[in-house]
Amino acid sequence: MSPSVPLQEMIRAIRSARTQCEERGVIQRECAAIRAQFRQVDNGARSHNLAKLLYVHMLGYPAHFGQMECVRMIASPRYSEKRVGYLGAMMLLDEKQDASLLITNSIKNDLSHSNQYVQSLALCTLACMGSAEMCRDLAPEIDRLLRASNSYIKKKAALCAVHIVRKVQDLGELFAPAARSLLSEKNHGVLHGAVVLITELCERNPETLERFRKTVPDLVQIMKGLVISGYSPEHDVAGISDPFLQVRILRLLRILGRNNEAASDAMNDLLAQVATNTDSTKTVGNAVLYETVLTVLDIKSESGLRVLAVNILGRFLLNNDRNIRYIAMTSLQRIVGTDHNAVQRHRGTIVDCLKDQDASVKRRALELSLALVSASNIRSMMKELLLFLSSCPPELRAQAASGIFYAAERYAPSQRWHIDTILHVLTTAGGDVRDETVPNLIQLITNASELHCYTVHKLYRALLNDISQQSLVQVACWCIGEYGDLLLRGECQETEPAQVTEDDVLDALETVLQSHMSSPATRGFALTATMKLSTRILDNVDLGHRIRSIVSIYGSCIDVELQQRAVEYNALFRKYDHMSPYTSILSDKNTCLQVCDLLGLLGGSEEPLQPSPAPGLSLNTASTAGGDLLDLLGGLEPTPPAPGQIYTNTHTSHTMTVYEKDGVTLTLSCEKQSDSVLTVTLTASNSTDSDMSSFTLQAAVPKSVQLHMKAPSGDFLPARGAAKVTQMVVLNNPNKVGPQTQSYDALSYDEHQSVRGKVWSIRCKTTNYIREEENHCLISKINKAVAVFNKKLYHFPPPNLAFNSRC
């Protein structure tokens, strides 16, 4: 066939252009010539011009001015012009263009043309770009062609019908009977078209599917013919007879046999035959086997057949060809949910595929490996997965990391293993993990209380190694802030001890703070950790100053978040220092006053409170507030007991001067009579030069306590301590539970470990007279205060931050 010379000349001219600019010039000239030609009357070169335009269009240049020319060419009586016209219509027109409607009539005429090649052009174009309206218009024509024409046209009409059904689903009913009858044709092209049409109809309409189930025996027959027939030169591909048709029939059988016992039974033999007889040395054979396996796994096949199918996939996994291994893994992925054990047998091969060079194979192997992780193989699988993570391509890292986390969460054999795994992932792929990993990991570490020492040592070492992985650095900073004392203590059973000094730790945190690699969030973590360390490191004053200086630097940081934190931490250091266990060791008068202040913060509880001498000491005293002049809460200057004095329940009597002002001295003396009864003797004396008269003492106690005031010895206080006035008060607390719970000690320094350091130890010393109800009231007040402090300290409150009263 002679080529189009004008077209070839133009192509040569375009190709010889040396620059893009030159090419554009050539094309512009050609397009101008073509446009001029289009406007002319019919000449013999029209098809060449349109072909040239189509070439220009393929290079990416605009060619919309050729659309009308296409329409005109399609209507031409000449075959050559029709051919190029229809080609142009398929390339330039699509259903969105208005001009496409104009060719509907031409197509209609051509569908009934005497020449089958003209008919085929029309059918092809309709199947390629027919819009819904065109399809509706021409559907009856197509149906007519499906029934009465030669096989060349029938096969094309079948595929045209497929397109129509895709565009306008309702027309499916129209084609169903014709499709049924086409199955008895001998021509492979027509058979193929018929099978495709039936597949399409069944996929879209369940009723049609039911009707076509009756064709299963026919399909099985056709398939058998293909499989066992001898060599047929027309359709043979590498020893397989018409693999395209075979695959299509298998797909239709899959759809018909799904969820249907009878249909599945009818195909069992055939599938077994195909599975065993198909030659699998070439890709063609493997294509047919692949489709067979998919069909077997999808229908209700008998178990022997299923085993055969999975074995075929197993064989595929060992194939040298990468493509075969890829599709084997894709198929195994589909059945890993249902036939888990069968797939587990091939786990070794799948894990080996993780090391394949090809990215597609790696991706499939990763997905399948993650699906195969179970409680029994978690350790070995995790080793492989972590190895994979260190060398995997970057686009798979995020998926691998999240898969590992999920698997670790579900099947972790021990907490330590879990933490180790997460730390490993953070060190290798810290940049690709999701954001919620950090809080999840912190939660996990918090809950594994026996591993705190081990974890903080490991994280500290990881931090020293590398501070570029933000998630890891954040978790490490949090741990150091939280468990810094364990780190400094040095001994740890689970890892080798390392001597870490406080300065080392602060150096590490400072490095994080100052590094350009740290994100603002990480800096926030480091700052908070630094501040928290000031409550852990108690005996080093220089370190305390160093911490304060570090924190105060950030008081003028550009980052608003850091600045706010630094300023608030500084405020805590300055104003609320008394609450810090660090400073209350050096307790002085101010401590007591400020403790009383604190109690004012809490809304002023009525309970009389004793000023607290030192942390961690339980105080058990009787307390009464005597007289309107004596108000322990008012901060009048009660004389605090000497620090270090320990009052225990075992002391039966004890004298204390509770008031000394303007010459009046009042002392209290307590004596325990029994478990719930306490006798307090109040002794007043007067050291001034004048006498005092009408001296009375008044006492107030909480509701839970019964007060019985005995008659005073008198109401006259002579001058210069000549005589004393005494009064006995009996206090009965029937609700006392036992000595060890008598002092309600919230958040004492040594006890509530989880809250340690998060807030300056609020030390409320209450007496044993507080009952349940008052307890709750106090607890809620303290909780509120703690919440305020927590917000200020910006850290993750562990879930169990509530106080527990242990009464």
Partner: protein, 169 residues
């Protein structure tokens, strides 16, 4: 169903594009860009299957041309490879007898078709494709039938042209 078939050179120049679903020009251009980038970036001995959005991309390299076919997720990838191979065989049969250019496709025996044939006779490549595939499905499974049909169509075209170019008297 197949969604599109693209042929492009090693430099990314498009030689043939067949779209089986309607798409705007912008979308087509974007897909061409994505495909050429993805396929040209692949290593020489890697797997022929790729994932792109919800489609499977099957590509194969023949000499200097990449054949890139996009199929829907329920289709058989290995069969798609066979489809590409069958098309190349058809082109080879058609062009091999007429033109000889270098370099030929090395992986097919006795082949003589090469990229230049497809460049200079692109409309023929389309006609052959339209006899083999239609509406995103395989139309004819026999090589001989396709070849015979193409030849007959060409004969019809020539007859017409000869008829038209004959003098009127």
């Amino acid at each position: 169903m197949m969604r599109f078939l693209l042929l492009f050179s090693r430099q990314g120049k498009l030689r043939l594009q067949k779209w089986f679903t309607p798409m705007s020009d912008r979308e087509k251009k974007k897909i061409i860009r994505d495909m050429t980038t993805m396929v040209l970036a692949r290593q020489p001995r890697s797997c022929n299957f790729l994932h792109w959005k919800d489609l499977k991309i099957i590509y194969k390299r023949y000499a200097s041309l990449y054949f890139c076919l996009a199929i829907e997720s329920q289709e058989n990838e290995l069969l798609a490879l066979e489809v590409i191979h069958r098309y190349v065989e058809l082109l080879d049969k058609y062009f091999g007898n007429v033109f000889h250019h270098f370099p030929p496709f090395p992986f097919i025996q006795y082949t003589c078709v090469c990229e230049l044939d497809i460049i200079f006779n692109f409309e023929k490549a389309y006609f052959i494709l339209d006899e083999f595939l239609m509406g995103g499905e395989i139309q004819e499974t026999s090589k001989q039938v396709v070849n015979r049909c193409i030849e007959s169509s060409d004969m019809l075209q020539e007859t017409m042209e000869e008829y038209m170019s004959k003098p009127a008297f």
